[in-house]
Amino acid sequence: MTSTSPISPTRAPSLTRALKSPLSGRLTFPLVCLGVWLLTIQAVTTIWPFAVDVLPTPWQVAGFMWDEITGNTLAPQNMYETFWISLQRLGAGMAIAMVVGGVIGLAMGLSKSVNAFFNDWIVAILAMPNLAWALFCSLAFGFGDTGPIVAVVLTGVPFVVINVREGVRNAPTDLYDMARAFGVPRERAIRHVLIPSLMPFLFAAGRYAFALGWKGLVVAEVFGGQDGAGWTIKFWYDAHRAYGVIGYALLFVIFALFFEKFLFDRLSRRFFRWRPSANATAEDPAPTDQQRTPQHG
């Protein structure tokens, strides 16, 4: 009885509690956004009647998104083809970035000299805006696949390097030493001790490289692509269809959320099922300064 007393008194307080709960706030947010949007349109159209075209209504955007989802589009490729093309580029770029970054990160973690050799340049590449890579790649490699892929590699590599280096530094040296002392051959010790301890960091590296590589890819495609997600949003922009730009932007958000929340969370749970306690580290291993900085521009 005592344990349920906070809930029991009457029905009315539980209703107000439901209204006050974070969930109701969360549900209110889209409604408020919609309201603000409609009010803005109302206000703008009364002040400047000619601005009707510029601010799309929510219905226009919803209609556009519905057309896109059903594959009925004015753009050269429908949304599924477009995102698939971009995903292929992202995958190729990420694979290269993982290999290159993994090797450099491993070397940097193992040797202080190598670390000193590369460190400043990694930081410099990390702080470079995506826009610079995108414009440079579009000019240097022309339109096509190479430019965007190089841009993904350049944005992804520093994150992989930093994560792998962190992982090597956190490797359980005592475990490794013990394995060696008990006569376990080096390859087996690396396979069973070092690599499992590196996994969470590699996974985090992949996740960051994915999120940031995606942003870099989109910018690169805007300037140096002939197809793909970035190119398509630029297509709507050039066509001066505001509802197309906003609708595509919403598709981007959905796409990113899908990968972040569903795919990576699932994967990480699956990957690290064998280590019951390390789930927390798998989700978010040692966020360093650079990692917590979401890169936009």
Partner: protein, 279 residues
């Protein structure tokens, strides 16, 4: 500093050991610096070498070419004006973003409002700056409000995340005590909440700034007729890679300087009085 004291206070053998350790440390540091310099030399010469040999010189101008172009641009007198325009935009936009970010973070103390703003923050953190740049460009066209809105939308979330992180670690007992002693809301915020949040806010500012300048340049590329981004766009459209690289590198160096040197110096100064809590 202890070299003068060591011979008299400690036995000579330990002093020599400390000396040895210090020597080894110094050797390590010299070695690290040597490698660092080697890294600079290696990459700069790789860059210089590949321009003209591995890639066409017009496609990849080397560091010397970039340096020479910077001299030319400086002589033409375009540099300070463009820098000033962009920096003003960053300043105003970032100030707005800061106010919005801190306000939202503070409002998120309330449970309902924290639910309300949760998705806004997620969207703000995950959406690429490019999208905001395009949307604001198409809606506002050439007007000043476009870039400013884009900066606010991309940057506020980082500050909010840091502020709400700070709020999660607020000293609950102190606040409860203040409440039970009848201290008002304003005074409570002024004397407990804000001093506790300051380091978190500073972290947010540093991260936020690193995003803000990138987004500013990006929006200028799409919808502006002055500033670094505009100059970059002009250079790329005329296929002048040396000029483009010079603009972006010059501004990049300035932004890094502001981010790593100036902001950090301010932070150190600000928190000189507290020794343990440094964000």
């Amino acid at each position: 500093m202890s070299t003068a004291v060591a011979p008299t206070t400690s036995p000579p053998r330990r002093a020599s050991q400390a000396e040895l350790a210090r020597k080894a440390q110094r050797r390590d540091r010299i070695k690290a610096w040597g490698w660092r310099l080697a890294g600079y030399l290696f990459f700069l010469s790789l860059w210089e070498f590949s321009s003209g040999r591995l890639m066409d010189e017009t496609l990849l101008p080397g560091p010397t070419a970039v340096f020479a172009t910077f001299g030319e641009l400086w002589q033409s007198g375009k540099v300070p004006g463009a820098f000033a325009t962009t920096l003003t935009r960053i300043g105003i936009g970032f100030l707005l973003a800061f106010v919005v970010g801190v306000l939202v973070g503070m409002l998120m103390q309330n449970r309902w409002l924290s639910g309300f703003f949760k998705d806004a923050v997620t969207i703000g953190v995950t959406t690429p700056g490019l999208i905001w740049a395009l949307i604001t460009a198409i809606i506002f066209g050439n007007r000043e409000a476009g870039p400013l809105l884009a900066i606010v939308l991309t940057t506020f979330a980082v500050i909010t995340v840091n502020v709400s992180e700070g709020i999660k670690s607020l000293p609950k007992d102190l606040i409860d005590m203040a409440k039970s002693f009848g201290v008002g809301v304003l005074k409570r915020n002024r004397h407990i909440v804000i001093p506790h949040l300051a380091p978190f806010i500073f972290t947010g500012v540093r991260f936020g700034f690193s995003i803000a300048w990138k987004v500013t340049v990006l929006t200028e590329v799409f919808s502006s007729s002055s500033g670094i981004g505009f100059e970059m766009r002009t250079a790329t459209q005329l296929f002048r890679l040396p000029e483009f690289l010079t603009w972006i590198l010059a501004f990049y160096i300035l932004a890094l300087f502001l981010e790593k040197v100036v902001l950090e110096a301010i932070e150190r100064r600000f928190f000189g009085w507290r020794t343990t809590l440094k964000a």
